[in-house]
Assembly symmetry: C2
Homo-oligomer: 147 residues x 2
Amino acid sequence: MEYEQLKLDNQLCFRLYTAARLTMGAYHPYLDPLGITYPQYLVLLVLWEQDKQPVNDIAHKLFLETNTVTPLLQRMEKAGLVKRTKGKEDTRQRIVSLSKKGIEMREQAKHIPECLSNEIIQITGEEEEFVRMIPTLDKLIQGLKQQ
Amino acid sequence: MEYEQLKLDNQLCFRLYTAARLTMGAYHPYLDPLGITYPQYLVLLVLWEQDKQPVNDIAHKLFLETNTVTPLLQRMEKAGLVKRTKGKEDTRQRIVSLSKKGIEMREQAKHIPECLSNEIIQITGEEEEFVRMIPTLDKLIQGLKQQ
DNA sequence: TACTTTTGCATCGTGAACGATATAAATAAG
DNA sequence: CTTATTTATATCGTTCACGATGCAAAAGTA
């Protein structure tokens, strides 16, 4: 059994990877009608919490690199969801702000988290375990981000 | 607090998505020297368990679409890790088999799961919770796959 | 002030991931 | 035995995701 640990069944990371992919897929019925993708939805979540943020802040909150977020924002600007203006104090910065369309979308997206949550609970028959999972995932994320 | 649930902090799926991405990043120090990516590593895990499988079986075991796996395998073939031969009974199938290099890599990869596991436990200070997480993630994966 | 370093963002190249579509082979239906 | 349908891959187009690199502005230093 020298290679026992190489079996796919023993891989926690594979489960995380798969669960994340399939969960993103579960957003499709809700995001497709809005014409946005899951990462774009995450950007909107960030901006709905606080409008007018530089690229760097958004990237940091999503644990993404700016070279991922920049093209994402360019596509979102093209779709009329956000505007990107030069920073006043620091002209290197690009301040991202919600457009009218981006602001209005909040109302349409209001129930998405609840819907997803219900769906997951219904599918798995679990709720408690997901709640318990959160601080552990947070520790993992924070720990891996340091490296 | 009408939009409370839209706060990023409340999103389980965002944590899954982020944890999965960062965990994949943690494989880099181990996979880069082997010249493979994480999804390619997963394909190797599948083939190390059982050599000579059609594309469809590999895709199914990884919960991926064949249009993701096909180019993945093409890159792996170009890298000399696998061979892709026409099926004998069913000529539509492409049987994927390990090359010498692919077989030998198993020995080099032997300790990767253990290393990652230790790293994660050390970073988070948790182990029990990850063990408990596994059947829940499996339920989630199975449930989402049906849809 | 002149020079160096850092920072914020953008660009480029590569590899996933997947919906849509194509194609050929196998299977089912007539 | 044809014809229709399904199945197994492949191809195409778009969107992430990220390492490497570029560039201009800001900050630090001599």
